[in-house]
């Protein structure tokens, strides 16, 4: 069970090795070598999503465990900052506002986190990419379908747990219509940015075997600069400047700040500009990495 859960590509890896073993000609489909996305094969896409969804649901207890693990660090900071605020305020935040901030952050962090970024590297290293390249669909769709399935499974855990915590810890959250409306695109852009930023880093596996160390570096930077350790407004000077300019805040912290009403109109618009700018950079890097990487890829297995 766990072996499969580790990476969606593992069974695909087995198939790829089989193909190699039989000495079949591993022709890489046209779209993959050119690196352009093909027209979406709808039936194939739906079947892929169904398969991925079933596999995720089957392993739900494993994913609930992962979600629990990811929830703990923000929860620790929720308690620590709540204690710091006590009956008063710290840096303009009251206890209830900290609770609201971190509960929203737990959900946003889970929604934008892409664990597929970790499996892409394995798929490349262990040769699972062979089978994916043979499909008449770009491999990015495989990742996207498990992304969708994963989000639903994680939310089955996160939503009831944060709701229970909210009933108990009494957050102070007043969502205005503006903030609520701005939150939706902010969240979507945050997800896209975090997904493609992680994906281009993961594609470095085409060149270096231990590229996943960079994903750990990214997680550490997200912890510090994306609003986990503290809301960006509370960071000391240099860290706050770094948080404003680097992409990490726009992957997690920014949508949370929008929903909890910490930003005025100009703050929200600047944030959107940063999100779009960094997303463009991430997409460009992803495109370059993919195009040059696939050409360089030589299959392992057989």
């Amino acid at each position: 069970m766990m072996q499969e859960a580790r990476g969606k590509g593992q069974e695909a890896g087995g198939k790829g090795q089989e193909a190699g073993g039989k000495g079949q000609d591993l022709r890489i489909t046209d779209h993959a070598s050119r690196g352009t996305l093909p027209q979406v094969n709808l039936r194939g896409g739906l079947a892929l999503m169904r398969k991925t969804w079933l596999s995720w649901v089957q392993h739900r207890s494993f994913f609930f465990l992962l979600a629990f693990g990811w929830m703990i660090p923000p929860l620790i900071y929720l308690f620590v900052w709540s204690t710091a605020a006590g009956g008063g305020t710290v840096g303009g935040f009251s206890r209830g506002q900290f609770v609201a901030y971190y509960l929203v952050l737990i959900a946003v962090n889970q929604l934008t986190y892409s664990q597929n970024n970790w499996t892409v590297g394995d798929v490349i290293r262990y040769g699972g990419m062979n089978a994916l390249l043979l499909r008449p669909l770009s491999p990015v769709f495989d990742t996207l379908s498990s992304e969708v399935a994963g989000k639903v499974v994680y939310m089955l855990f996160i939503v009831p747990v944060t709701a229970a915590l909210a009933l108990w810890l009494r957050p102070e959250l007043h969502v205005t219509l503006h903030n609520g409306l701005a939150f939706v695109p902010a969240l979507a852009l945050a997800w896209a940015l975090r997904f493609f930023w992680g994906y281009w880093l993961a594609l470095l596996a085409f060149w270096a075997t231990r590229a996943d160390a960079l994903l750990s570096l990214q997680d550490a930077l997200i912890f510090l600069l994306a609003g986990q350790v503290a809301p960006t407004a509370l960071l000391p000077g240099a860290l706050r400047v770094a948080a404003t300019w680097l992409p990490f805040r726009y992957m997690v912290g920014f949508p949370v700040e929008v929903l909890t009403g910490q930003l005025d109109i100009s703050g929200i618009l600047t944030g959107f500009a940063f999100q779009l700018g960094w997303l463009a950079v991430a997409l460009a890097l992803f495109g370059v990495m993919w195009r040059t990487g696939v050409k360089r890829y030589s299959a392992v297995g057989g």
Binding site: G69, A220, V229
Partner: protein, 298 residues
């Protein structure tokens, strides 16, 4: 006649006592030999681990990166927090830094041998899950020993160095004088903490015998992160849980308090008693679980 019988009685008594002392010394030497054998085994395991590390040198740099990231996020987290408040329930930046040092030290010691060994047993693709555990059981060595000391990760020594650095920095900033009494209390507290950590990990790994698919140690890893901060910073009910039910708080808070000198002797004794109780309980649980092991087959 009587004298004769008395004499012979005394003789036989003497003989028996001589025999007894011979047997005693024999068993003593056996126990000594036995523990020497275990120490030799540990030496072998460590040597193997070092040879393994030398074969993959790139891992050194990657490991260093992870260690520095772990340290950096921990320290910067505290700097951010104490940039906003001066003290928090009696804890200052310096004393919390010392506590973080204790947390990182325990984590490094765990990463050195307890973690890799138990992870190989009960982790992802662990021996219990794959059935490889059969071969561990067949070896003529105590199973719990083998499960706890078999695998070493020498690169964790990097973490240990960095952790001791954080601990030292925290202590230097606290400006506390170190009396021998405090150092002794600290060492006792650390040992108790390490024993509790080992016991909990052993117990969580033992649960794998009942439910082979579930990664109990991951659950514990999530909870362990709460030990980064003093138990006193959490709300009341959570403090109780972290002290008595899953005593991760005790592991770091007590040694840190021992250093600053505001630890009552009773608390230290309580921590030691708790550690011994957890160790005994975990051993019983592990051995009970062992009997349930039925290998694995496809």
């Amino acid at each position: 006649m009587i004298v004769e019988s008395l004499k012979s009685k005394v003789e036989s008594q003497k003989l028996r006592s001589r025999q007894y002392s011979q047997i005693r010394s024999f068993t003593d030497s056996l126990i000594l030999e036995e523990s020497m054998r275990y120490l030799k085994l540990i030496r072998r395991f460590i040597i193997i681990a070092f040879q393994d590390v030398l074969a993959y040198r790139m891992n050194f740099w990657i490991s260093l990166l992870y260690s520095v990231l772990n340290l950096g996020t921990g320290v910067l987290g505290l700097v951010v927090l104490f940039g906003q408040v001066e003290t928090l329930r009696g804890w200052t930046l310096a004393s919390t830094l010392a506590l973080l040092g204790v947390y990182l030290t325990l984590g490094a010691l765990r990463g050195l041998f307890i973690g890799p060994s138990l992870e190989a047993l009960a982790g992802m693709d662990g021996e219990v899950w794959t059935g490889q555990f059969d071969f561990t059981l067949l070896r003529p060595v105590d199973v719990q020993f083998l499960a706890s000391f078999r695998h070493w990760r020498p690169l964790a020594l990097l973490d240990l160095l960095l952790a001791l650095g954080v601990l030292g920095t925290g202590m230097a900033q606290m400006g506390q004088t170190l009396t021998p009494g405090r150092v002794l209390a600290f060492v006792i507290g650390m040992t108790a903490g390490l024993l509790i950590l080992y016991a909990i990990l052993l117990a969580f790994s033992a649960l794998v015998f009942w439910s082979p698919g579930f990664l109990f140690t991951w659950l514990f890893n999530a909870l362990l992160q709460t030990a980064r901060y003093p138990v006193g910073l959490y709300p009341g009910w959570l403090r109780l849980v972290l002290t008595w039910i899953v005593p991760v708080g005790v592991m770091t808070t007590i040694p840190a308090q021992a250093l600053s000198g505001d630890l009552p002797v009773g608390m230290l004794a309580g921590a030691v008693a708790l550690a011994l109780a957890f160790f005994a309980g975990a051993t019983v649980l592990f051995r009970t679980g062992l009997r349930r092991y039925a290998s694995a087959s496809s």
